[in-house]
Amino acid sequence: MIEKKQQIFNKLGLHARAAAKLSHLANMFSADIYLIFNEDKVNAKSLLGILTLAASVGNEIILQAAGADEKEAIQAIGDLFDRKFDEEI
């Protein structure tokens, strides 16, 4: 199991479209993937679970993955956050 601290850079935070992209990406990996924020832990493969975090720009969350492709999953998801979910130029 590996973890990574990840800051949210996009202005709108983990809103609906970002959550959809994130869950879609997470579903491409076999590893169990979670987001942890303010003592809440949600399945990164669940769009609606991600929305319940109500995480905003500037917040720091923890990405957690466990499974055969955990490293690749954390890398890809971290990249998506770093790219601001491809929402901003």
Binding site: A20, N38, N43, S46, L48
Partner: protein, 133 residues
């Protein structure tokens, strides 16, 4: 395979589907039927009958906007082993249905999950945040 139709007063269903398509960035495979305020509902019934007839061999979920409303009432006659109606559908419920969140389980189980997610989507936010804190 599970097929779906949304049947609502006016264009509510079409708008819900369009918003869900924007969020999920994909075209959704769902039939949209609008209850024409001016009519007597016969067009809506014909459309729904035709849709159900085309779904032989498939399970069908009918989403309606409000329990007790005309779209919901005309839908209940189709309830059976292969057809279920979920009334009061909202965006969280619709997203749950179309999300690849969870593997497709049994029909009944899937319908319950969508119902639960739609209900979970209604919150007095101050209370919800209070509970979280």
């Amino acid at each position: 395979m599970i097929k779906s139709v949304i049947i609502t007063h006016g264009s509510l269903g079409r708008e819900l589907v369009q918003v869900a398509e924007k969020i999920l960035e994909q075209k959704l495979d769902i039939e949209v039927i609008a209850f024409d305020w001016q009519g007597d509902g016969s067009a809506m019934i014909r459309q729904l009958e035709a849709f159900i007839a085309r779904q032989a061999g498939h399970k069908v979920v009918i989403f309606t906007d409000m329990f007790g409303g005309s779209p919901s009432n005309v839908s209940t006659r189709f309830i059976g082993p292969n057809v279920e109606v979920i009334s009061g559908i909202n965006l969280p419920g619709l997203l749950k249905f179309f999300c690849c969140d969870e593997p497709n389980g049994a029909f009944r189980q899937m319908v319950k999950k969508v119902e639960q997610e739609a209900k979970n989507g209604i919150n007095i936010i101050s209370e919800y945040l209070g509970e979280k804190k």
